[in-house]
Amino acid sequence: MTTEIMTKPAEGVDDPVADLRARFGDAIQAEQQTVDTFPVLWIDPAQWVAVHEHLRRAVPQPFTLMAELYGIDETTRRHRAGQPASGVTLVSHLISPERNADIRLKCACDAEAPRAPTLTEVYPGADWYEREAFDMFGVRFDGRASHRRILMPPDWKGHPLRKTHHARATEVAPYRMTPESFAATEVANAIDPAELGLPTERDGVELMVLNFGPHHPSTHGVFRIVLGLDGEEIVWAYPDIGYHHRGAEKMAERQTWHGFIPYTDRIDYLGGVISEMPYLLAVEKLCGIEVPARAQCIRVMLSEFFRITSHLLFYGTLAQDTGAMSPVFYMFVDREKAYKVIQTITGARMHPAFFRIGGVAMDLPTGWDDLVREFLDWMPARLDDYERQAMNSELFRIRTQGVAAYDVETCLKWSVTGPHIRAAGLPWDMRKLRPYSGYENYEFDVPTRTEGDCYARTWVRAQEMRESLKIIRQCLDWMPEGPVKADHPLAFPPPRAQTLHDIETLIHHFTGTAYGTRVPVGEATGQIESARGFTQYSIVSDGEGGSYRTRIRTPSFANLQAIPEVAPGMTVADFVIYLASIDHVMSDVDK
């Protein structure tokens, strides 16, 4: 495929919906209307694979990326007008980078024993998503060799995101670990290569099986990879995730719309306010709220600050994994400077929970501009320093160049996004392609390289920090005057000053806090470019104070999926650098 991306659909490209209707006829059961701009189609399960196959290969400018696949338990949903009957709905979200367009397909499954055909033949990247759908909803996929849980422990009973599954520990008997259950858990967590169809020997030599993680200094979180080693060479790698799973999606169904904001900070815990953005974009879209320009600018500025702190941590720990011990300390000094600004503006450091439905929590404090300017003047010289220390160091180059190189095809195959796909040559950045929160008003570039190796990924992120500085500089120069929260009945919380003067606002404040704001019925999606890649929150509102279903598409989850393909042939020493270059956050993987 070409590395050019069109920002508008090209002339003469067929409307995919009309095309699908013409080709598949009745298999297109319905077209659902949502507030999103992309089409949402209900597909006959019998044609589920064929439709995907068509969109993946037959249409011009095909939908090459499966962004995600997830379930919705429809059993207690009240407002489903215009949608075919369904117990558990399977949703796939496809993206065509060439068209810069999305399409969402839905498949109705049975409530008691949901089944659907597997898509792994068409989209290999669907693998982990299908495992997740099985784990969370019990959806069985015809054609899959095995159904292994992915996020929950292997011996877990039930499927957590089903509405019948308890959400709180107090709803069930207290958990007790007996010696027997402990031993059983040990057995259940053991990974037997033979059972997974992985080789146990090569050329007659038995392979050494090495449990890399979940507690290992270089897995960057509780991440376990079982490695089959011949000497120091990796023959196969089997990632095992879920050790950081906290049930964020289940929690979203118990919190009010407003109350879930702090949780989003902790999905990608290095991204801070960045992951509040897609959630609120979706909620605001559903509410029809227009965020004021000043609030948008504050949001952008803080997001870019967090992008810098996140990339700095990546930069330092990658250098650390090559054995260079100093850069990470310098970068923590810089992060401290950034946190000083963030702290002054938001009152918190890593997880400020600063954005609100319709704006931000409060206006900028006096003197914020001097602090930001100080940081902008400090950073560039430091980045030059790091260029000399890391990027231009010969030892650093021989450790990273040509290591774990993969191309755009591989990225798309495994749904890998973010700096990975840009380092491989595709300038795919949501801030440019689908500007949100006013990103279209800023001048910045999307750095790309073509090598796709660890060095290229480091370079891309190093350049992105400079671009972020550019954006922050523009925020500083152009910060508009005006309110920081929309004047809208659903914007929450309502203005504090008014609550003490008129009873309407006070009641609104009270009910909104106690029961949650009533977000209009419907489905909406928020898409952003986080520090790690394409992040998407898909929310379903059933007219309650909280969400009916919140689906979180995190980039780290998919970015890890390529490991079994990329790792073989590497040495263990290179593998830790590859892991560092993925820059995953385990809570972002496991949710």
Partner: protein, 322 residues
């Protein structure tokens, strides 16, 4: 020297070296802190100077277990093997004119041999640990040792040729006119490269590389057993620095100040270089290190040897080309 005096002197030297190694850990941590825009330990005693004593007490009182499935005897033996040979290596070092425990005629060879013995500690410790990360570390230690030992000895043969002696004292005396660093710069560079590897320091600490192997051969060690490995590493730094000073920087020679002071100052300066190198360099992959050792360092060492030999023969002098 009679036997009683030798034992007394040995004990004094061992004590002094243990304290020096302890103090050096503090110097390293404060030095790294200074280089990395942070403070380092600064709480125990003035400038944190007593930190190393606190650490020693902590390590002495920590639980020290043999891992399940491990070979208990070898597991206990390995740390001792890491520290004792290095201490023995100091026997031949001349701290001043006539100030040496044993003025062996084979001094250079003896010191190198003692340094090389430490690889047994790593391999045996790795094997006895019954741990796969340790095993990988032990394998790396063995492979790495084979590659740097080859040019370690060759790199200083130039010095031996010029001075015509393997006795460390006589090599120092041979430098009264000109330090060998001037006539043997290549030899010195290669010696230091191999020396860093012999002391298992970054960038050549592949056998314990904590990023991929957790702690390599030391993974299962704790308490005093760990401390002995640690001690061996710091003693090795001092020994390699002492050898480098003796062979290339004129040992105890220097104006005004007494010989041992000059020797101490020079060793201290070189040891600081170890810290500095650790602060700035990434670590090569182990096959890259092995390839470098065989394809570049060994031929260069041989070339150095050839050139020095030719010059020595042409100059027609057996003892001191300078």
């Amino acid at each position: 020297m009679n036997a009683g005096l030798t034992i007394l002197m040995s004990l004094a030297l061992i004590m002094a070296l243990l304290v020096a190694a302890g103090v050096f850990t503090w110097v390293e941590r404060r030095g790294l802190g200074f280089l990395q825009e942070r403070l380092g330990p600064n709480r125990v005693g003035p400038f944190g100077f007593l930190q190393w004593i606190a650490d020693t007490v902590k390590l002495l009182t920590k639980e020290d277990e043999v891992p399940p499935g491990g070979d208990a005897v070898t597991f206990r033996l390995a740390p001792a093997l890491a520290a004792i040979p290095v201490l023995a290596g100091f026997a031949v070092v001349g701290f001043g004119p006539g100030l040496t425990l044993s003025a062996l005629d084979m001094g250079v060879i003896f010191a190198l041999a003692m340094l090389a013995l430490t690889v047994y500690a790593m391999v045996l410790g790795a094997w006895a640990s019954h741990n796969r990360y340790a095993l990988l570390g032990g394998l790396r230690a063995a492979a790495q040792m084979l590659s740097y030992e080859a040019f370690f000895g060759l790199s200083l043969m130039g010095v031996v040729m010029i001075s015509g002696s393997l006795n460390l004292g006589q090599i120092v005396e041979a430098q009264s006119g000109l330090w060998f660093i001037v006539t043997q710069p290549l030899g010195f560079a290669l010696f230091m490269l191999a020396g860093i590897a012999a002391a298992h320091r970054l960038p050549f600490d592949l056998q314990e590389s904590e990023q991929d192997l957790v702690a390599g051969f030391m993974t299962e060690y704790s308490g005093m057993s760990f401390a002995l490995f640690f001690l061996g590493e710091y003693l090795a730094i001092i020994l390699v620095s002492a050898l480098a000073v003796t062979l290339f920087f004129g040992g105890w020679l220097g104006p005004i100040l007494p010989g041992p002071v000059w020797f101490g100052l020079k060793v201290g300066a070189l040891a600081l270089a170890f810290i500095w190198i650790r602060a700035i360099l990434p670590r090569p992959r182990y096959d890259q290190l092995v390839a470098f050792a065989w394809k570049w360092a060994l031929p260069l060492a041989l070339l150095n040897l050839l050139l020095t030999g030719a010059i020595v023969v042409l100059a027609g002098a057996g003892g001191g080309a300078a």
